[in-house]
Amino acid sequence: MSQSQTTLDEIIGKDYEHGFVTSVEMDVIPRGLSEDVVRLISAKKNEPEWLLEWRLAAYRHWLTMTPPQWASVHHAPIDFQDIIYYAAPRSQNDGPKSLDEVDPELLKTYDKLGIPLHERAILAGVAVDAVFDSVSVATTFKDKLAEVGIIFGSFSEAVQHHPDLVRQYLGSVVPVGDNYYAALNSAVFSDGSFCYIPPGVRCPMELSTYFRINARNTGQFERTLIVADAGAYVSYLEGCTAPMRDENQLHAAVVELVALERAQIKYSTVQNWYPGDKEGRGGIYNFVTKRGECRGDHAKISWTQVETGSAITWKYPSVVLKGDHSIGEFYSVALTNHRQQADTGTKMIHLGRNTRSTIVSKGISAGHGQQAYRGLVRVAKSAVGARNYTQCDSLLLGDRCQAHTFPYIEVKQPQATVEHEASTSRISEDQLFFCRSRGLSPEDAVSMIVNGFCKEVFKELPMEFAVEAQKLLGVSLEGSVG
């Protein structure tokens, strides 16, 4: 008994791979938050007056709010005056005109992370917008996308070049006062990605953003806005890493998706922020608001997430199903190991007629990991013929971890169909022994069983990401059972 537990402990204990720090000169503002800081950020980004006013409104609203307490996570209160709200690689001051002007140290960082910038991007066929601390560093494939009318690049650029589009959609899905962290983000967001797919255009490649927190004591507050106009299609990938630090770092992003009539947006995330060490020191607080709105009839928004990182994850990618016959999907694998905590799930808000939603959530807890699925399915009176199917499974490794499920269902439409299934299981010693007696190492056995458990979600991921997710899951589990 003890022998296999030790082996499993080893599997679950492997170190974080992306914990290196890049030494580039940074343009950093003093720590702390005030109206002046909001103005400073806006000025550094040369923003129009309306956007500054928008930020200030968010800031003033944020001052009246208190951090949410309902999540099933525990951490010391965050000192929001102890955070640096803007940090950018120095070379950005002059603005790189092309990849050649980007700090080579920075490019090396992305090389280490395996992000396809430069020629590598062409090989991989993925258009990447890379966000380093607060600013967007380089966007590949911009010209090729522009040929079909797709706008893809950093949020700051979009503010300069397409202010009307930004103004039309920014905050239209997640209003400034939506919640504590969304309000904070609205006040201080520094960069992120912007994407607009014109009517009837099918984006010819996967679009991708890679986020990395590098500087010490900084928060990362990126803002992503994706608009798929009528009949458009886009698949968007997001990946995240951070160096290892003893102190906690805050990541409070907002992602807004808008799908107009018959448009489809597929948004996939592989989140591998630094989770902290085995005793729970350090790590990223990942407090993120992600929401999509199916604004037109027959629109479809699909969230797929693989969450293996962060000390704390607080995240509920949601879909507002406004258009008739619109579809919302949420596929999630969340893994908590060591002292990680995750409170994650989704909201499906059915407003239109014959709207459909599917939720498949797979939670894996190992070590002292704490995990909660929190989901809301709301069917308004107007949503005649709405259907929801929810499946919520938890897998436990070892006997010191926890899994909780909090499904909220509010149905005001008597003809709606709402199904909820939930299960909890654990990897048994019998399963492990069976696999080992067939010649599989304990690591391979655990990884095979866990991947089997997650299969329904992985098959929703784009190919390259599915492979990465499987590997990540293997790595994140190293040292987990005992």
């Binding site: 008994m1 003890s2 022998q3 296999s4 082996t7 299981s425 048994s428 010693e429 019998d430 399963q431 022994f433 069976f434 696999c435 080992r436 007696s437 067939r438 010649g439 599989l440 190492s441 304990p442 391979d444 095979m448 069983i449 991947n451 089997g452 458990f453 997650c454 299969k455 329904e456």
Partner: protein, 253 residues
Amino acid sequence: MLEIRNLCAEIDGKAILRGIDLDVKAGEVHAIMGPNGSGKSTLASILAGRDGYTITAGSVRYQGQDLLALPPEERARAGVFLAFQYPVEIPGVSNIYLLKAAVNARRRHQGIPELDAMDFLALVKDRVRFMEMDESMLYRAVNEGFSGGEKKRNEILQMTLLEPTLALLDETDSGLDIDALKVVSKGVNSLRTPERAMILVTHYQRLLDYIKPDCVHVLAGGRIVKSGGAELALELERQGYAWLGGEAAGVAR
């Protein structure tokens, strides 16, 4: 091939095996019979490397190596195979995926190239036909929703793919109808060669009608109390364990 000397084992402080001596040579088939609770399944489990037992004395040598020092996966790669009495279910993992992983783990150990998907598929389909199984079970999750008989057939399918040197069959015949028993026996007999050895743990003579053993041992109270040829099993079938007297009768009662 296998030399067991004075093997003593306990679980949670309770002695289960109390001095087993057994020699199995290449090419031989040994049947181990005995009343419930005599330690038959424990012996098979210990040989395969299951956790939870404490070896208090004795040794087991397999092809000259100390078998008990090896973790279960290394025993498997060295050619030891246990057909489980209660095969476990692994939701989400397809049968074919497990089979391929197992076959290639063995091949890596033997230093021969791993089979690619096409070659493996050809091989596995051949064995599935031989075991008179439906190909669809390859794509179902391992043992999930399988009937008792399907699970046992699946065990023997794994055995015919892994081609073990030493096969341990733990009550493979229990819960099988007569047709399934014949197919399972066919699978087992197909692997009888001068290089291989098998240990069958069973309650019933019935299995031995199809797989004729070279030796039969009666295990009772954690010891082998009687050994003989195939005729011993017939004797047990007629008379039960009581005539053996002593511990065998004591445990049986």
